[in-house]
Amino acid sequence: MERDTHFILGVYEDEDVLLHAVKEVRSTGVKIHEVYSPYPVHGLEHVLGYKRSRLPIAAFLFGMLGTSLALTMQFYMMKFDWPMIIGGKDFAAFPDFIPVSFEMTVLLAAFGMVGVFMVSSNLKPWAQPRIFDVRITDDKHVMAIDIANNSSMEVEKIKEILKSSGATEVNNKSFE
């Protein structure tokens, strides 16, 4: 983020126009950095060609970690560290351990998923958000195109493509 980054922004008024514009722009070979919209646009991630999130895999692994931690903890405590007779059961009374194991599975899966999500989307508290256009929180959809990623194309050409795809405005934006 140290170097200067320059973006071309296409501003769209309508989500249907936006969806078609994304398809059109991608078909010309322009690589889209990201599309910002005030509300979730159905099918947007599909036309942008995003791969499915791998977050469920992280959730599963953290869940397994939770299960095994909970079972290890309980077996160690109840069988080896401090055996106690409770309700006349065996020291290692497996059915008794299931509620705790379930809770630990859910807890670690949730924590792990949130943590992984925050790391992968750069949501650290000291992160500086890059605001492309303040109107993306109001009534405009903005398609951001990183010039560095499209070095094979002329800037003017990209702007033309954006205009012809239905953008009401085409702006430049730079970040320090």
Binding site: D16, G43, P56, F60, G87, K89, P95, I98
Partner: protein, 431 residues
């Protein structure tokens, strides 16, 4: 997406052709043959005859195993049939749009209900005395050595207003009323559906929604009470407060699996083109979610009984877990109905593709039959039970008979609710 134009054939009807009929009849024949082999083995003694003297005081007869089998399948397939109607009613009460094209598939399972009613009532008269310990007059006679004060205390639940130990009029009345209303509601739904197909307009949808709500209220009570009557009263001393829910959950998972399988089957035959992987995904989520729900109830019942360790409650699990016959099936039950579906259906792709769903739904259908097997047989047969030729044969006979009736009923009406106001919405269902 929004610009695509759909040209679906809304008048399609399921063609119940000779090929399907023939294969179902073949299964029926195989089942009948296995059943006969099973009966012959049982009549020849089955190796258990010398252990006949039971604590209940009467010798074991080979036909009791046949009776128990009839009863398992009665309860199991009645459940699948009523869950079809129940899930249909849920769609309307919840104003669901995504499921519009498959509502008739759900409803078709209700076609088994009238047959289920006849078979169950007839078999209760024929076999009830052998199946249900409480139907023994001496239990209620204080002068008899067999007198049982606990069952005497519960007697009115079966025999009111008659004298205890005579004729279970209250029990039979409940059975008749439940089946009567279930068949009534099923026919009402079918009638409204037929009127909607003919006349169109959304008034039929509103009517269906009201009747669905009435049905759901009735079903909430009747599903629980029928579980106590038909299943829990077999172990007459024992009781569990969540047993009604537990049986309902087992029925629901089996019913959902059957609905999913039938939908995939129909799609494979080229019907229901508008049902795409998004709809299948939703059905898969239902199957996945409710198989966990069943496990939750099964385990809640088990854990509390295990933990509290009260003899009158633990007897139910002691009877099963400490038995050579039933003990292994407890773990088969958990494996088939929880572990495998949970692991296989966990990913999104598995819920969206027919192959995995077909596998898991078949597994669950067999698994929940095992669940009912474990509910019914230990209490009726003791150590004389087990899964043999008779059980497999009877399951195949019942299963193919139900399939014949359900598919026959499905072929009579329209496969699609062509005037359903939410049909358009369901085309665009996307998750």
């Amino acid at each position: 997406m929004a610009h695509d134009v759909q040209n679906y054939n809304l008048d399609q009807k399921f063609d119940f052709n000779a090929g399907i009929k023939k294969s179902l009849l073949t299964i029926l024949g195989i089942g009948a043959a296995l059943l006969v082999i099973g009966i012959v083995i049982a009549m020849a003694g089955g190796g258990h005859a010398e252990e006949g003297a039971e604590a209940t005081g009467h010798a074991f007869h080979w036909y009791e195993r046949l009776f128990a089998n009839v009863w398992i399948n009665n309860v199991y397939f009645t459940g699948i049939a009523i869950v079809g109607v129940f899930f249909f009613a849920i769609q309307y009460a919840a104003q669901a749009g995504w499921s519009a094209p498959i509502t008739r598939v759900m409803l078709s399972f209700g076609n088994w209900l009238p047959y289920a009613a006849l078979i169950m009532i007839a078999s209760f008269f024929l076999m009830g005395h052998n199946l249900f310990h409480w139907w023994h007059a001496e239990l209620f006679d204080p002068n008899s050595p067999e007198y049982d004060s606990i069952i005497d205390g519960k007697g009115a639940f079966f025999f009111w207003p008659m004298e205890k130990g005579t004729f279970p009029i209250f029990y039979i009345a409940r059975m008749v009323i439940f089946f009567g209303f279930w068949v009534f509601f099923f026919n009402k739904f079918k009638k409204i559906a037929a009127a909607e197909d003919q006349l169109g307009g959304d008034s039929h949808w509103f009517k269906m929604r009201s009747w669905s709500a009435y049905f759901l209220v009735f079903f909430a009570v009747s599903s629980s009470v029928s579980a106590w009557d038909w299943v829990m009263s077999i172990d007459t001393h024992w009781f569990s407060t969540l047993f009604g829910w537990y049986v309902f959950a087992s029925w629901f998972v089996a019913g959902l699996s059957a609905i999913t399988l039938l939908t995939i089957f129909l799609k494979g035959k080229g019907y229901l083109e508008m049902v795409n992987e998004n709809h299948i995904h939703d059905l898969g989520k239902f199957v996945f979610g409710f198989s966990i729900f069943w496990t939750y109830l099964w385990f809640s019942q088990f854990l509390l009984i295990y933990y509290a360790n009260i003899p009158e409650e633990t007897v139910y699990f002691v009877e099963r877990l400490s038995s050579d016959v039933y003990g292994p099936f407890i773990f088969v039950n958990i494996g088939m109905n929880f572990v495998l579906p949970f692991l296989v259906l966990m990913t999104r792709d598995a819920k969206r593709h027919g192959v995995f769903l077909k596998l898991v739904c078949t597994l669950l259908l067999v698994g929940h039959w095992v669940d009912f097997f474990l509910m019914v047989q230990p209490g009726t047969l003791g150590h004389n039970g087990g899964i043999g030729f008779m059980e497999i044969g009877m399951l195949l006979v019942y299963g193919s008979a139900v399939a014949l009736v359900v598919l026959g009923g499905l072929a009579k009406g329209n496969l699609l609710p062509k005037n359903h106001p939410m049909l358009e919405e369901s085309y665009h269902h996307h998750i």
